[in-house]
């Protein structure tokens, strides 16, 4: 039987049986990995590799990836069905690097890399042998990603890369990095960019973990000092990196439902109800309003995510900018939710015994900042919606027509006048 014809009910039955026979039950597992904030030990990653290999051998890794890439060639809905069935079981947890590997990175490789590259890397990615990270943002280029300044210079049939990267999720345990570098400084900003696959153990590449706002360290910064990379490590065409970035950003902003979760959230904001009970405020009208508001937001965001995914899948002319809605919703609601927990907890979120850990309400409050700025700030999402969905005109800009080298030079000497 042609496997691509598996209907959803059959698939669900098969997946359920396979999961029961091959995975372990795990309390509280909801099929969602929200791990960008947590540390991962070598043992955690080794365990994740074992589980990923098991999924791969069973035919449940890369369910919606093409068969010729080592996937199962089924639909995103099949993938969703598997996640629903697997809720409550232990799944491979590669932390944040896992999310980017199987989401934006694997998807952009399939869409843009040449056949040899795809065959070299995709099966190894789907089987858990290769975990990737994004060498993407830089100290001087975050929301303005096409403004990256890391340079790649041709040297015979090789490239030499020098620069600094930052905010790479899980780079300290990743095997490969997908690195955006400038290969033509005389071209305009978006025309001189190229993507390279960089082994994270390459000579001249150093990784440092960043101590974050809450004291944890999941993100890294990297310094590339004359790192030598072969020509066949280019992903997508030379100087054609912005096309790849467009694909990546769509998945980064949640088209793949990374931000949505697998299951419709029906329980009344369980974390906030527990918190309200803990501080004895569950009967206070204001607290109840906060709880219900958060529940409504969780529900709304889940269905907004589904709506966006449906739009991206069914529309005859896909408009990737609609993915910005999902990202903006997360960026707005997460901060709101963090604040709701603070307001419910009151002093308990602000002071605690020196012998205790920082409470979840405080930790969650601090970490809620992340989604307002990660993968493009809220303002970037608003620009995308405003300009590419609503069709509003752009602001005048200084960096669209001249060589990027001149943009950097002129910005330093700008006297504030607009002519």
């Amino acid at each position: 039987m042609d496997d691509t014809m598996v209907d959803l009910d059959t698939f669900r039955r098969q997946a359920r049986a396979w999961i029961a026979a091959n995975l372990d039950r795990r309390e509280g597992a909801n099929g969602q990995i929200n791990a960008q904030l947590e540390d991962r030990s070598a043992a955690d990653i080794a365990r994740a590799r074992v589980l990923q290999r098991r999924l791969f051998d069973g035919g449940y890794a890369g369910i919606s990836f093409p068969r010729e890439c080592g996937g199962r060639g089924l639909s995103a809905t099949h993938e969703q069905v598997f996640r629903e069935e697997a809720a409550g079981y232990e799944l491979p947890d590669f932390g944040g690097a896992g999310n980017v590997t199987f989401g934006p990175i694997a998807r952009s490789i399939v869409a843009h890399a040449d056949e040899a590259f795809v065959h070299r890397h995709l099966p190894r990615i789907l089987s858990g042998e290769e975990i990737w990270c994004q060498l993407y943002s830089e100290p001087d280029a975050g929301s303005d990603l096409p403004g990256v300044r890391t340079s790649a210079t041709r040297d015979g049939d090789k490239w030499r890369i020098t620069g600094a990267k930052v905010w790479s999720t899980g780079a300290y345990y990743a095997d490969w990095g997908m690195c955006l570098a400038r290969t033509d400084w005389a071209a305009v900003k978006r025309r001189g960019l190229t993507w390279f696959a960089v082994p994270m153990n390459a000579e001249g590449l150093s990784v440092r973990r960043i101590l974050q706002i809450d004291g944890s360290a999941g993100f890294c910064e990297e310094f590339l000092d004359d790192v030598v990379i072969p020509n066949d490590a280019i992903i997508g065409g030379l100087n054609d990196g912005w096309a790849v970035a467009q694909t990546m950003l769509v998945y980064e902003r949640g088209a793949g439902e990374e931000f949505t979760g697998a299951v419709e959230p029906r329980d009344l904001a369980p974390d906030l109800v527990a918190l309200a009970r803990q501080v004895g405020r569950v009967q206070e009208p204001i607290v109840r309003q906060l709880i219900a508001r958060s529940q409504a937001q969780d529900f709304a965001r889940y269905h907004l995510g589904k709506r966006i995914a449906q739009q991206l899948m069914t529309s005859t002319s896909p408009q990737p900018a609609v993915a910005a809605y999902g990202k903006l919703a997360l960026g707005v609601f997460a901060a709101d939710r963090g604040r709701a927990a603070m307001e419910i907890a009151g002093a308990d979120a602000l002071v605690w015994p020196t012998t205790s850990e920082m409470p979840m309400s405080a930790k969650g409050f601090l970490n809620a900042r992340m989604t307002c700025i990660a993968a493009g700030t809220n303002e970037m999402q608003r620009n995308a919606i405003g300009e590419r969905v609503l069709g509003l005109p752009r602001e005048p800009s200084f960096d669209l027509t001249k060589p990027f080298g001149d943009v950097v030079r002129d910005a330093r000497t700008w006297d504030g006048r607009v002519c």
């Binding site: 109840r288 309003q289 529940q295 409504a296 739009q311 069709g391």
Partner: protein, 372 residues
């Protein structure tokens, strides 16, 4: 963009949506809405009958009771109509008429169905629906074969002359639902002026009003559960109307931001305006997602239907009010004039937000449904 992604609609649904939109555009434009040509006039009756011919009041009633369901997702079908109605702020008790028709079909006696449904489905009469959280309350006392009703409710959409009222009253045995007609003795219906000028609201007064047992819908004292179901349906249909109004209002505002020039460029190119409109658009898309999700829960008749409806009502109510304010902000002075249509939307969305329970009420209700 529309309420539902166009590609996911069936041909029947698309047809219903398109003929409804066309009927509205030809019959009841914004200028007619503004002139209140639809208030208790011959035109209103004609509008209702023609709307009934399109199936507007039959969608939620099974065929065996004279209805004309289009699909298994009949709540969504009705939402498609409601959305088109909302876009041009259509008057008339579309929501209540559908809620009451379905309630009578589901829980009415044979006699009640025969007496009520033909008129409602054909558009001859419209209905009013009254239950918590409508402001006011009616108490009912039973005396042998008769109930006596006392009390008042207000902020009820006008069912027009010869209308039907489904009213939930408190009795010592529990909430009881009564099917009344507006012209029955002892029932006083007073029209009110309202912030929303696209519709007409009434107050209903009962003064020791004698009502026969035959007017009880369902079992005496057992009205709480059907009233809650009716509330969920009323909320979702009303939300679909609100979302239609929001969609139209935002599109008008975005166009204005592209056309209006200040400081040498279209004001929509300024990030201050662009970001406001992007946030507003997010609020609208979120509202649509909630309405469609709640409609699906109602169509599945699952155990989260009431929660989903209340979530939709809370989200759409709040986002609709935000949208009206944000759009006003973009229009500036022109939006403060009577001539401009902006205030019609501001008025309608403010009224929608409170009708059948405001966001605060539905959040509290959500907590209770959630077991706290």
């Amino acid at each position: 963009m529309t309420l539902v992604i166009a590609e996911s609609l069936t041909p029947d649904q698309r047809l219903l949506q398109d003929v409804s939109a066309q009927f509205i555009a030809e019959t009841m434009t914004l200028s007619k809405v503004r002139e209140q040509t639809n208030v208790r006039t011959a035109l209103a009756a004609e509008y209702r009958r023609r709307a009934a011919d399109l199936g507007w009041f039959s969608l939620l009633v099974p065929d065996e009771h004279g209805g004309g369901r289009l699909s298994d997702n009949s709540v969504l079908d009705a939402c498609l109509v409601a959305y088109q109605r909302g876009r041009l702020l259509q008057p008339g008790a579309f929501v209540a008429t559908n809620v009451v028709a379905r309630a009578v079909a589901a829980g009415g006696s044979e006699q009640q169905r025969h007496a009520t449904l033909p008129g409602l489905l054909s558009g001859e009469v419209a209905a009013a629906w009254v239950a918590a959280p409508s402001p006011g309350a009616v108490e009912a006392c039973r005396n042998d074969d008769t109930y006596r009703l006392s009390g008042s409710v207000r902020f009820v959409e006008d069912p027009g002359p010869d209308g039907i009222v489904l009213l939930t009253a408190n009795t010592p045995d529990g909430p009881t639902q009564f099917l009344l007609s507006t012209d029955m003795p002892g029932l006083r219906i007073e029209t009110a002026d309202s912030l929303d000028i696209s519709r007409r609201f009434v107050e209903i007064h009962c003064t020791d009003t004698k009502v026969p047992m035959a007017a009880v819908l369902g079992r005496p004292g057992a009205g709480a559960a059907p009233a809650a179901e009716q509330l969920a349906l009323a909320c979702v249909l009303l939300c679909a109307e609100s979302v239609g109004a929001m969609d139209y209002e935002l599109a008008t505002t975005v166009q204005y931001a592209k056309d209006r020039v200040a400081f040498g460029r279209p004001i929509g190119s300024f990030q201050a305006i662009k970001h406001l409109l992007a946030d507003t658009s997010l609020g609208l898309e979120t509202a649509k997602a909630c309405v469609v999700a709640a409609a699906a829960h109602l169509d599945a008749a699952d155990d989260y239907a009431q929660q989903a409806a209340s979530i939709a009502k809370a989200v759409v109510g709040a986002n609709g009010q935000d949208l009206a304010q944000n759009c006003f902000q973009v229009f500036g002075g022109i939006g403060f004039t009577w001539e401009h249509d902006q205030h019609l939307y501001l008025r309608r969305l403010s009224s929608d937000a409170a009708l059948y329970g405001d966001p605060v009420w539905h959040r509290e209700y959500l907590c209770q449904l959630g077991g706290i």
